[in-house]
Amino acid sequence: MNPTEEIIKTALLGTDRYVPSEFGEIQPFVDKLTQKQDNKEALFLKSSFAYFLYTEAGNIPPKQENESLVCPPESLEYLAQTTTENLKSCFTANDDEIILYIIQKCYQANKLIPPELVIPCLQKALSNKNNASMFLKVCGERGAWLCQLNPEWQKLTMLTDTEVISGEDVWETGNFEQRQTYLADLRQRNPSEATEKLSMVISQENAATRLGFLEILTLNLSLDDEVFLISLLNDKSQKVKKLVYHLLLKIQGSQLNTLYLRHIQKTFIIQDKKGLLSSKKNLVIDKSVIPSEEIFSTGIDKVSSQKGFEDELYWFAQMLAYIHPNILAKETGVNELDLLELLMNSKEGKFLSAYILENTLNFEYQEWALALISKHKLTDIRLLELLPSAKAEDFYGKFMESNMYGFVNYLQTQKDLFISLKSGKEIIDYLIKNPYSLNKAQFKSLALVMDKALLPTLYEVAQPKGELNYQMKHLQTNLIEMIQTIELRETLVF
């Protein structure tokens, strides 16, 4: 037993039960102390102190070869000093909306964040999977190098775009998100190769993974996918099966879609109703035509739960959602917009509108989306997403009134969106009347995409005007944050 173990053993057991036999190199000193000290506890305590001090003071630093793990040099420039300062302040204040904004801009400008912000940025990347590759990119070589060293951050490296595209291995060895990104990218570039790759592995995957992969087939969906999708109609998972039917039905000309089309052809009749001066087209739905059992097996609901919505009409409506407006127009000989009007203005229109909306969304049919918003006052936020942003802006007021929360979420998902002064003023007017319709983060997100010409209006509304009620105080606080955010945005240099 070495002296350290002897001393620790004595301390643990107590001097009453054990006394250390030696104190190593300081034994002569301990012997001297023993001559002066008759109290064995005091002697032990002082000798131990001397022993530990002596050992530690005499400690020669050990030698170890250092594997040189030096970060590769950066090829990109760092962010401007002022922007860096602002980004640091945002990290201190945990201001997620502005951090994300600065990182996005930094990413677009091909700039790097300063070294001291790399670790906080990697941590943000971990909690923000959707933007992980962007966060990693702005960390530069330093970020990638640190990810190699720290197992916790290693998964971030796999999410960068370049690796996904170039790394064929990702499909074999990557995790679900990486494989999904890889498949989506391949589907975009070469749809048939993506289907082929998927067909080879789909039977070995679990239901959630199958569902995740099949959702990607919505991209560039075509008749070429029919055979593969039909092979999946016996999938054990109900969710997967439902998605497969949905995809098959969306393919115009597929066997299932043709079944629907045949039924629509039989039931959908356009009649010319002659008047005194002109003739008027009239829509008639023949409810006596009963769909075949084959149609019902595709997942058509048999019984309507809506009052007054006849089952026959309900079946028709469900099928209508899967026939492309162009084909419907061709079949009926009425152009798409007139056809929409006929459907919406018919006596069944109030029941059909939900399925017309579904049709518009299924085929991302912009003309119908515009007509549904402008003429028929539909305010489903997904319709706005189908319109180009310049056109969509005309309807902001309408969507704000019906669903401000969803509207702001829509704004947040739009790339490179910029709200004009006119729309900005509309939004502020709405917020003055409904200050609690947005949360703090949403006020900030809005500010990030608003025209700076709105500042005078914001200053005017936010200006203290005597005693305020709690609603106005809440609005004022948030408007000041908006002002601050716009002003900050304007000072950022990339």
């Binding site: 001097t15 039960r17 530990f52 530690e56 003071a57 630093p61 300062e85 302040s89 201190t92 790399v118």
Partner: protein
């Protein structure tokens, strides 16, 4: 002087104040904003009817605000200062200070002078001696009690201490406070910092017990020790030297770099430790400030600032603790050219020398140069050019931060040697200074 936004935010007492201060850094919140070379002042529209009046002394950074906040600096002070750092042009430039601000600055100067007058008051030496004798008696009694307690602990063994370690020193530490030996109470409280769930607690506990015992004997034999060491021992026992007496000592004027600033809170008492390094004198200085719950910090320094000041050191065999006698300027320098440090072997020698001079030394400040960070199997260490190895006990987050800013290259660092390993506080690389603790 020009503070950066980051440095201003570091002055905030907590993260919520930093966040609230940032939100007020907009002209929309300020009814008036004035700038003078000595001070900034402005009126902030708060929730009340009248705006809050906020003032900042730019020469010896200090804040004053009419708001009821107990935090210091308050969000209004931080907001005004941040706004000035971001956008000084929007402040109306003033040739003269407003009456209110001038009065406040005068008061601050007068306060310093009052302290000077207080110092000049004659001391009743007889009464003072009486008090010292009475305290000495109490301390001696306390020491005897502590020695008996320590001997009892080692007689019965420390095996069962972890089972009730929260209570282990509670009573005896309280007795030391009663005996006016607060230093000894602090030595005992160090035991509470031991992680009893980690292998090696036995050694740390025994070391601390043995050190405390030896300290009590050193105090009993104080007359036989060198004069400077006597001061160290007395300080460790709990004797304080009045600030006025320290400020009478010859001062060292230098440009001091703020290497590190840490805060420790215990029982509503915050201990602020500011480590400085003299550019010319090449010596360390430790400014220790204690703030009770609502007390305001006397100086607002942050890491990486240069302070032109006169420091008076407390007597010690290796003087470190100091008081700022006067300061003329605080500079924020973005690039620091060079700091001369030691390699790990030299630092080990220096450390041993310090222990030879003062065996009870707990923290030894070191400036290491040409070291790089090594990470193997979860252990972090510094390695110098001669492959000497020094393990470090920074948190994982702090180690990764050091790795990120140093890029695996060699750097100069400041830190403290404590309990067999080193803790990095700040590093200097590519002429940039980073606080990494």
């Amino acid at each position: 002087m020009q503070y950066t936004q980051e440095q201003i935010l570091k002055l905030a007492p907590d993260s919520s104040s930093a966040s609230a201060g940032s939100k007020l850094a907009t002209p929309a919140k300020w009814v008036a904003m004035h700038a003078h070379k000595q001070a900034l002042w402005g009126d902030c529209q708060g929730s009340g009817k009248n705006p809050y009046k906020t003032k900042i002394d730019l020469q010896n950074i200090a804040f004053k605000c009419s708001c009821p906040s107990r935090k210091f600096p308050c969000k209004h002070g931080l907001g005004l200062f941040l706004l000035y750092a971001k956008n000084p042009d929007i402040f109306s430039k003033e040739e003269n200070l407003s009456d209110e601000v001038a009065e406040w600055l005068n008061k601050r100067t007068n306060r310093a002078e009052t302290t000077q007058v207080k110092k000049d008051k004659p001391v009743d030496e007889v009464a003072q001696q009486k008090r010292i004798t009475a305290r000495e008696k109490k301390i001696q009694a306390g020491i005897e009690e502590l020695q008996v307690w320590l001997q009892d602990v080692v007689r019965t063994g420390i095996m069962n201490v972890p089972q009730n370690h929260y209570q282990f020193t509670k009573n005896i530490a309280a007795r030391m406070v009663d005996s006016q030996a607060t230093g000894l109470a602090n030595q005992l409280k160090e035991i509470n910092k031991i992680n009893f769930y980690e292998e090696g607690w036995q050694k740390f506990l025994l070391k601390q017990l043995a050190k405390t015992y030896t300290l009590t004997e050193a105090y009993q034999n104080i007359a036989n020790l060198p004069e400077d060491l006597q001061e160290d021992i007395k300080t460790l026992i709990g004797w304080n030297i009045p600030k006025e007496q320290i400020l009478e000592q010859p001062a060292i004027t230098d440009e001091w770099l703020v290497l590190s600033k840490t805060l420790e809170e215990e029982n509503n008492l915050t201990t602020e430790k500011i480590w400085l390094y003299g550019s010319k004198s090449k010596r360390f200085a430790l400014i220790l400030n204690f703030h009770a719950m609502q007390q305001k910090p006397s100086n607002l320094l942050t890491e990486g600032l240069y302070l032109e000041a006169e420091l008076c050191f407390y007597p010690s065999i290796s003087p470190l603790r100091a008081l700022i006698k006067s300061q003329s300027d605080v500079k924020s320098i973005t690039e620091i050219a060079h700091l001369e440090g030691q390699n790990i072997a030299e630092a080990a020698n220096y450390r041993s020398e310090q222990w030879i001079k003062m065996p009870f030394n707990n923290e030894i400040p070191l400036l290491l140069s040409e070291v790089s960070l090594a990470h193997t199997e979860g252990d972090w260490a510094l390695i110098d050019s001669e492959n000497n190895y020094l393990s470090i006990h920074n948190s994982a987050a702090s180690c990764w931060q050091t790795m990120a800013v140093s890029e695996g290259k060699k750097f100069t660092c400041f830190g403290l040697y404590q309990e067999s390993s080193f803790q990095i506080h700040s590093i200097l690389i590519n002429q940039k200074f980073y606080f990494v603790l």
